[in-house]
Symmetry: C2
Subunit: 219 residues, 2 copies
DNA sequence: TAATTTTTTTAGATTAATCTAAATTTTATA
DNA sequence: TATAAAATTTAGATTAATCTAAAAAAATTA
């Protein structure tokens, strides 16, 4: 049995490992989990004991195949529940994270596979993040940060790097929800801010920070 | 904050109090929770400390208004999730208890109210048990145990006393799922077993035990 | 009502998950 | 490469939830 706390640590290690090549450090995990390094060390011992991670003192950790599997299933569950909350219960995309964080821990293979079927086997969640299938396979989508587009480039908003409600609500206000069409008109070297044309021919200015957190599929 | 363990105890006390007039005893709670009397005593102290129950040593317990509210919300959540699992995910009525047991602990008022709306504000769960509304009000339905019917009485199956998968599956096989029409043809004094006509003119014999666990609305 | 049985509580542990403070190891730097 | 700084682990506690065994109280019965 993998406890909820253990599952959460595995997910945190998975997320860190996605971004960094090297082993996930105790401090990085502590930051991700919003806890202390000492608590992380305690947990790492337990996870290593259960063969969910490879752990060598002072050397950081990596998920084992089994640890990776558990984390992937957890992410699958989290994202499927997010689709349910948005598509069927009418929640906004900035409201579903905490609920999915709880729902992902509900155990039962039949549940998640039936939910997946009910939802129509979605490949992406409401934030554009890919949903691994029952075998743990990921669907990758060619997308680029808005910050890398050149003037004249057009595309469709496909995802976000920053998942904070503040950012998501800001995007809603700018008409930049998932699926919105977008054209980069101009980039200002002074602060790397950009001017873009959105959906209804509306023009808006976006800071470099926004550009670093918004994914677009160039068309 | 009320922990999951505390919620489960409150629900157990609620269930016992439904049947018995007097205060719920430590042993009755231990039996319901499948744990030891010592564990129950420990928990009762904690629940009393939080003013969720009235507890006097050796005297059994009763829910306070707040404890009753927490238990009622928990039952509401459990039964709404059961409706979702059966009506939308296609689970059978004997498969949903354990999943609902987990889902009922997911916190979030908006979630349960949106789920309720999505489901169409159901008044009864897949076993015929009433679902309290957001204000904790119960819908009562005039129903009688099959064991109390007289020959010639007709009615519709509206609920079960025994929720075990074995009983529910047996009912499915007999054509006695919720909503099934039924007519009591004869009762045998020898063992109180009955002969009934079900849905498609089919005649079946049912033991006294079945009669004590099946609710019918006489028409 | 006294003795016995049953019920309940207490005492003393255990486990998972967490913490702070101190010690140790690794990494960076002068 | 010493030394200082940063990262990590260990030591020692705490809390919630549970347990077994023993003690105490309540209920039953002879």
């Amino acid at each position: 049995m993998v406890s909820q706390a253990e599952e959460n640590y595995l997910k945190a290690i998975f997320k860190i490992s996605e971004k960094e090549v090297k082993a996930a450090s105790t401090n990085a995990i502590a930051a991700e989990m919003q806890t202390t390094a000492a608590s992380v060390t305690d947990m790492l011992k337990r996870l290593a004991e259960k063969n969910l991670i490879d752990y060598e003192k002072y050397r950081g950790v990596q998920l084992t195949a089994e640890g990776n599997r558990v984390a992937t299933v957890l992410i699958r569950k989290h994202r499927l529940w997010e689709v349910f909350l948005v598509d069927h219960l009418g929640f906004a995309w900035d409201e579903v994270h905490d609920l999915a964080e709880q729902l992902e821990h509900v155990q039962g293979n039949a549940l998640i596979e039936r939910l997946d079927r009910f939802l129509g086997h979605p490949k992406f969640d409401p934030h554009g993040d890919p949903i691994p299938d029952a075998e743990g396979r990921w669907t990758l989508r060619p997308q680029a940060l808005l910050a890398t587009l050149k003037p004249g480039d057009r595309g469709v908003v496909t995802g976000v790097e920053d998942h904070s409600p503040a950012f998501l609500q800001y995007l809603d206000q700018m008409g930049l929800s998932l699926g919105a069409e977008i054209e980069l008109l101009e980039r200002f070297p002074y602060d790397q801010s950009v001017r873009v044309r959105t959906q209804a021919g509306r023009e808006v200015s976006l800071s470099e920070k926004v550009g670093q957190n918004l994914y677009v599929k160039i068309s």
